[in-house]
Amino acid sequence: MMQEVSPDTSRLHSIRTPASKKRKWIKSLRKDGSLYLLALPGIVVLILFAYLPMSGLILVFKNYNFNDGIFGSPWSGFANFEFFFSSMEDALRATRNTVMLNALYMVTGTFFSVSIAIILNELRSKGFIKVTQSVMFFPYFISWIIIGAVLFSLLDYDKGILNQLFSSLGIAQVDWYSSPWLFVVILVLANIWKSAGYGAIIYYAVLQGIDPSYYEAARIDGASRWQIITKITLPMLIPSIILLSLLSIGGMLKGDLSMIMGVTFLNPLLLPTTDIIDVYVYRTAIRSGEFGFASAITLYQSVFGFILVLAANKLAGWYDKDSKLF
């Protein structure tokens, strides 16, 4: 509205008495009341599925039983932590797997996405770019369950395509589903396969925004294709690469339960490398009902995750003040 007071004059008028404060609130409520109404459903969802679960962290200090519920169960002090430390090995394994897999996804995924984007930027055939980009983006649309099913037909010991190929080449067949460390490679490749095309679109979009005169100047100076890529294209992408990497560091402890479930079907033989924290919580708490214990690891996950986010934010601040997340 036109009579809306600009910030400066409002500061002049507002003498800080409770009454004027109250009047200001009523005024703003009349003006913006409908905004609260619009935000309400979102607020409710956030409270129900994000904020209240945070308060559920008190479970760590409780001896949970299903009848009394989260808030009614008796306090247990630090008993759950004893529990936690008593099976420290499993917890550490889950943490190591989560961080290891996420770090591998991040590094390889970024490498492939950036490479594809840079290569697409070099190609001149518009039709070729369009078709291949669509095809590479397609796996992003497929659920992990389906990817797991198709992987099975590739990797199955007797019937899988890969082992057929190996035996026809005279190489010994590999039992992928009982080789935890080989399966790490499979997971990393599956992740690249699913998401590299998606990531490439982001970086390719950044490259489309580069001023063509840089390239013209380089070409006039006689730069080779490789020089142009390493001296112009790649440096242009670095800010985006850093920003996106920092964002994903915060999620380092968030494993992808659907991915592991979909691809490994929780095969016990693979757990040494695929038992990420979310899988661990699912197995120990939701399936077997050891709630106290799982809540200790949940708290640990949250605190550790929060430290990672703060660290990422700090790193972002050092790199560039504007890239700070908050």
């Binding site: 905004l35 109404l37 619009l38 935000a39 459903p41 979102g42 969802v45 599925f49 994000a50 209240l52 679960p53 945070m54 559920g56 479970l59 299903f66 290569i119 190609l123 070729f128 291949t132 980009q133 669509s134 095809v135 590479m136 983006f137 497929i142 659920s143 369950i145 389906i146 990817i147 797991g148 099913a149 198709v150 099975f152 037909s153 199955d156 019937k159 057929q164 396969w193 998606y198 679109i201 982001i202 979009a205 080779s224 294709r225 490789w226 985006s240 915060g250 339960l257 479930m261 979909g262 079907f265 919580v281 708490a285 939701i286 949940t298 708290l299 949250s302 995750g305 929060f306 908050f326």
Partner: protein, 294 residues
């Protein structure tokens, strides 16, 4: 002027991209071929890129004895996707509008209120206990929808679109006496069309592909989505084997386990594959606007 070595590089680039594109499609060829093969030959010789003994038997089996389950799975998935997408888009755009109103005193507070949930979470366990014990979402259709109604990431994406709408339009509407509800529904939503389509697609994809919520909250077979049905089939051969023995009087026929997995895979991907050519460009546009804008 490019030298020869850079021409070689260019050829390598074309080759690399072509190869990766082929790799992206190969698994689907494998699935289609598997679903059209005969079970006995797959069991004996393994999967192949070309159907082994071309047959439609597997599909006949699925549509014969499993039709009811599959159709129910489809309809649950369609219902969850449709209801979920519509309500999630409403909740999300409304919240996004609120934090995009420049004059709103609490817009920063509401932004942070949403953003904080991206940083810190209570973890799977309290979420699960609250959802099942306090909200009673276990084995309900709502349980497959409500937890996903607000994706904070898509909400910020949408807020970006709203902020890009020229402020003068909003101001002139305010002068004409329009309130926020009116501005939201009759100006922002129509003008934010591109953003709206983008987040709708992302939500639809999330709901269609989701299997986290059914895994956590559903035990009732009537509520299995197509993805969850698929998961159960992969993890548990019993699903296919059950209720089949009695079919052909006296003679026990073994169900086509391997080919059925592939046929289910094809059936689950089919809707996406059909819609993909039409939807893909919206996603690309959405990703570009959402990521390049600061």
């Amino acid at each position: 002027m490019h030298t020869n070595d850079s021409k070689g590089l260019l050829i390598f680039f074309y080759f690399f991209i072509a190869l990766f594109s082929v790799v992206c499609l190969v698994p689907f060829v494998l699935a289609v071929s598997g679903s059209l093969s005969t079970e006995s030959r797959i069991a004996a010789e393994g999967y192949s890129f070309w159907p082994r003994g071309f047959t439609l038997e597997t599909y006949q089996f699925l549509f014969g004895s499993k039709a009811e389950q599959i159709l129910r799975g489809y309809s649950i998935s369609v219902m969850v996707t449709a209801l979920g997408t519509v309500s999630a888009v409403l909740v999300t755009t409304a919240y996004a509008y609120v934090i995009s109103v420049k004059s709103f005193r609490l817009k920063n507070f509401f932004s942070f209120f949403a953003y904080f949930t991206m940083l810190f979470s209570g973890g799977t366990l309290p979420w699960y206990l609250l959802s099942t014990k306090y909200y009673h979402l276990g084995d309900t259709l709502a349980g497959l929808i409500v937890p996903y109604l607000l994706s904070v990431f898509l909400m910020f994406l949408m807020a970006n679109y709203f902020r890009s709408i020229p402020h003068e339009i909003v101001e002139s509407a305010q002068i004409d006496g329009a309130g926020h509800l009116r501005i939201f529904f009759s100006i922002m939503i129509p003008l934010g069309r591109v953003g709206l389509v983008t987040i709708s697609l992302f939500y639809a994809l999330q709901f269609w592909n989701d299997f986290y919520l059914p895994l956590m909250l559903v035990t009732d077979q009537d509520l299995y989505t197509i993805q969850y049905l698929m998961y159960n089939m992969m993890a548990n051969i019993q699903f296919l084997a059950s209720g089949n023995a009695a079919q052909v009087g006296g003679v026990v026929i073994s169900p086509p386990l391997e080919t059925a997995k592939m046929a289910m895979t094809c059936l689950t991907v089919l809707p996406i594959a059909i819609l993909y050519p039409f939807l893909q460009r919206f996603f690309v546009k959405g990703i570009i606007v959402g990521s390049v804008k600061g």
